[in-house]
């Protein structure tokens, strides 16, 4: 195994990140078990400084050949790297506990299968003609960071996810629901299943709005396009490089005063929780948008140093197109949360005379999203007089978040865990829609 002394022997300074992951997943397609997937992997990322230059290497595996290649790779790389302008972490956190490991190893596969079976049976009874897909999984991740600055941080996490979905009639896009928790959920989300089936029935007919500006109700699952766009705006990297539209705008109103967004990395109950980022900097809650006003930027070690700021614990190996050991560190949200408002979903729907409910957007990354632009295909429903008319087909939304999200009419009363963070429904007025 690699220890800090071996790194000290080879380099002036070093930072080693080790991720060990285990996973067990059951995938069901069209009601039947499709496959069983399990993983047991070890991944390493090494960043080093030597003779005032920096270098890095990554590896998967744990054999002596792997560790040897990791060091050799960093030695080759450090001959060319620019001088690093920041210091590796010197923090210490021990957030490993056996209870977390036990929640993974003591939850038997049979329990996962039984839960999935129970949900399947409910669907079979209520809507047997559906093409139902679902998957259930448990995963475990142990992260450790050590540096030659005496940093020693470790954390373990267990997560359980359950997803069910159905392709809408005609076989096009899917309606889905997503659940995630750090402990195994035994409760059956029966109310959600009923709502899902009702919504599914409304997909049987196509109904298109007229082209024009209209209110749009964004579901929690569709709001990632807004958050990713905002994330690039508040990224210290884009501030430094001059490509963010939010440079020198701290304290300014950029959205409706109804909107507050906080990055909550330590939110209990989810496996997104992080006590420290991928550079060993402790995380903390940060209000990014406070009643519409821009309140904070996100910094990793590098861009904090370049801009003479403190790192915010947002240095993550994550980009829009993926995450993992090979992804370089970037400033990013850990778990953004939009503060809920006072309206139920049905109250928000009732506000719409002519508009749409968006369940998902596609193609957003092909817009100029770093500047806030969006031009996306909307999947969801046409709404008239507060009622769902039918599913959207070939309908596009276009605009700029920094113009359009000034017009928020109302915010849902519940932040719902989605794939990027926790968001309520959001009703936004005057969005440009290309329909009929």
């Amino acid at each position: 195994m690699l220890d800090i002394n071996k790194l000290k022997k080879n380099f002036d300074e070093a930072e080693l990140l080790i991720k060990e992951t285990r996973e067990m997943k059951y995938d069901f397609e069209n009601w039947d078990l499709e496959d069983i997937t399990s993983n047991d992997l070890s991944e390493l990322s090494l960043r080093v400084k030597d003779n005032n230059k920096s270098g890095s290497s990554t590896a998967t595996g744990s054999s002596p050949e792997v560790l040897d290649n990791l060091i050799k790779g960093a030695k080759k790389s450090v001959q060319y790297g620019e001088p690093a302008n920041f210091n590796f972490s010197d923090k210490k956190i021990d957030a490993v506990d056996h209870a977390t490991e036990n929640r993974f190893s003591k939850t038997e596969s049979d329990e996962l299968i039984e839960y999935a079976q129970e949900i399947k049976n409910i669907f079979k009874e209520k809507k047997p003609d559906l093409t139902l897909n679902f998957s259930i999984s448990k995963n475990y991740e142990k992260t450790k960071i050590i540096t030659t600055n005496e940093a020693d941080l470790k954390e373990n996490k267990t997560g359980f996810t359950f997803i069910f979905s159905a392709p809408i009639p005609g076989g096009g896009s899917e309606l889905y629901r997503f659940y995630e928790s750090d402990s195994f959920f035994r409760e059956i989300p029966e109310a959600d299943i009923n709502e899902f089936i009702e919504e599914y029935k409304m997909t049987e007919k196509v109904s298109k709005p007229k082209t024009g500006k209209m209110p749009v109700l964004f579901s929690p699952g569709s709001l990632y396009f807004f958050l990713v766009s905002l994330e690039t705006g508040v990224s210290g990297q884009n501030i430094y490089q001059g490509t963010s539209p939010l440079i020198d705008r701290l304290g300014e109103s950029i959205f409706s005063d109804k909107l507050t967004i906080t990055d909550k990395p330590r939110l209990e109950g989810t496996s997104y929780r992080k006590s420290f980022d991928d550079e060993g900097i402790p995380t903390s809650d940060k209000t990014i948008i406070n009643n519409g006003k821009l309140n904070n930027y996100l910094y990793d070690l590098e861009y904090a140093a370049r801009l003479d700021k403190e790192p915010t614990g947002n240095g993550l190996k994550k980009t829009l197109f993926g995450s993992g050991i090979d992804t370089p560190v970037n400033p990013a949200f850990v778990h953004p949360v939009i503060t809920p408002g006072g309206y139920s979903k049905s109250e928000l729907l009732a506000e719409i005379d002519e508009g749409i409910l968006v369940e998902n957007v596609i193609g957003f990354h092909s817009s100029n999203y770093t500047q806030g632009h969006f031009s996306v295909q909307a999947h969801g429903f046409h709404i008239k007089n507060g009622e769902i008319q039918g599913r959207l087909e070939d309908v596009m939304l276009a605009g700029n978040i920094y113009d359009d999200f000034k017009n928020i009419i109302g915010i849902g009363d519940k932040a719902i865990l989605s794939q990027m963070g926790s968001f309520p429904y959001l009703l936004v007025d005057k969005i440009s829609v290309t329909g009929e």
Partner: protein
């Protein structure tokens, strides 16, 4: 390694098993503006095991070969008791037992060039881009990937093979007044490394277009007839149609399976679409897939009619269609899934000028800027385009996103150019977890679509 693999499956009562072990080396050099942001080498070693028993499939990725036997036992255990969760047992199409070794031997191999030489190569392109007018930011990455693989299965196949590719990809940002535009540039070495050399003129041509984009008008939203250039038509056929020809996408979706039966008319008789792993010097060229099957050319649409599909052994049995050799995994962390090799629209008969002159009010749309599909719905960004008025190509437009429904759009392809061109760098994302595969190529001639929905800003 071979001692562990010898007789690996001999003492089992499995219906089928296979194991792939890999050693992967990757180099990445990344510039952002003037800064050399990263010079990184990575080494990934590990294996992937697949087991079929009692009609159920179970797979496992592991880091150490010494864990493989234990993993195999655990997979067999994980299957027991799940028989009641399936209504039909999975079967595999019968296949030949193959014992072979096949390695790529390019004239110019990136492994014979130093890190210093690779760094200078990307540094020069980055510097050249930064020197041009209005450029505010650059992002250039060099990447090479070499994977040495061994595949064995319980039927006696044993294949050693490799994958090799190198590429340079860049994003160049320009700003004038308040307008920021970005243009992507890429050069591919599949497998010849020297294809990345001496590309300065190509880079300057792309930057010239970027500078014109700063003065272009945003496109007006609406429904229009369009001419789509080769680069974007390649992405269209890959994203919008290609994925639906992958049998694992439609296997368990009865509505699609019904719509996509062999013999269904999908377009007019001018449209032919092919997947061909045998085309040399393309990203998707290979001899064996990661299920030990020989790579094969498959005609997917033959003169408008659906005529073939991309398969694994399991889906080929399920659909009762021929094997195609399209099961691929990006590395040892992942299970193989069905992927396109080099998909392309076959050449037609029209000149591009003739195609443009056939439109009174529409657009000529160029180069992909990312796309996404779900089912039969697609959305693509385009980098830039030109207004077409009364058959004439007019001023440049930008901020273009197109969307539509696949089956209607295929029917609306009314002209196909005589200028088939393959992209140097392809790439494809699929799967959960997402597998980003650089060994995926695509090509097309110009095409005319009578109507698409354009969402401007």
């Amino acid at each position: 390694m071979k001692s562990v693999l010898k007789d690996f499956f001999s003492d089992d009562n499995l219906d089928y098993g296979d194991l792939r072990f890999e050693k992967n080396n990757q180099t990445e050099i990344r510039y952002e503006n003037q800064d050399l942001k990263e010079v990184k080498s990575s080494y990934r070693e590990g294996g992937h095991l697949r087991v079929y028993n009692q009609g159920v499939k179970a797979v496992n990725s592991f880091s150490q070969l010494k864990d493989a036997k234990k993993a195999k036992k655990e997979l067999a255990n994980s299957i027991s008791g799940t028989e009641e969760l399936i209504s039909e047992a999975a079967k595999l199409k019968e296949a030949e037992v193959i014992k072979d070794k096949h390695f790529i031997n390019p004239d110019t191999n990136p492994k014979n060039y130093s890190l210093e030489e690779k760094k200078e190569l990307v540094e020069n392109y980055n510097r050249l881009a930064l020197e041009q007018e209005h450029i505010i930011k650059t992002n250039f990455t060099y990447r090479d990937f070499y994977s040495r693989r061994i595949f064995i299965n319980s039927e006696g196949s044993e294949i050693e093979y490799d994958l090799l590719g190198s590429l340079i990809s860049g994003a160049v940002y320009a700003k004038k007044n308040d307008v920021v535009q970005v243009k992507r540039v890429s050069f591919g070495g599949f497998p010849e490394f020297d294809n990345l050399f001496n590309r300065e003129d190509d880079l300057l041509k792309e930057i010239d277009i970027l500078q014109q984009m700063l003065d272009a008008e945003p496109i007006k939203a609406g429904n229009y007839p369009v001419i789509i250039n080769q680069a974007l038509a390649s992405v269209f056929i890959h994203e919008a149609f290609g994925h639906l020809s992958e049998a694992d996408i439609v296997k368990n979706n009865p509505a699609f399976r019904d719509k996509l039966q062999a013999g269904t008319e999908l377009g007019s008789d001018i449209l032919t679409v092919v997947d061909d792993p045998g085309i040399k010097n393309t990203p998707g060229n290979y001899k064996y897939d990661d299920e030990g099957q020989p790579a094969q050319k498959t005609t997917l649409i033959d003169q408008g009619t659906l005529s073939g599909r991309l398969h694994s052994r399991e889906t080929a049995a399920d659909f009762n269609e021929p094997l195609s050799g399209n099961m691929r995994a990006v590395d040892c962390k992942y299970t193989p899934i069905i992927r396109m090799s080099n998909i392309y629209i076959a050449e037609g008969k029209s000149d591009v000028e003739e195609m443009i002159s056939s439109i009174d009010n529409g657009y000529y749309i160029c180069n992909g800027r990312g796309g996404q599909t779900t089912g039969d719905q697609f959305t693509f960004g385009a980098e830039y385009g030109y207004k077409i008025e009364n058959g004439q190509k007019k001023g440049m437009v930008r901020d273009i996103n197109l969307s539509g429904e696949l089956f209607a759009t295929l029917q609306r392809i009314s002209m196909i150019g005589n200028d088939l061109n393959f992209r140097e760098v392809g790439g494809c994302g699929k799967g959960n977890p997402m597998q980003l595969n650089i060994f995926s190529g695509m090509g097309a001639p110009h095409i005319k679509v009578d109507q698409v929905n354009i969402g401007g800003v």
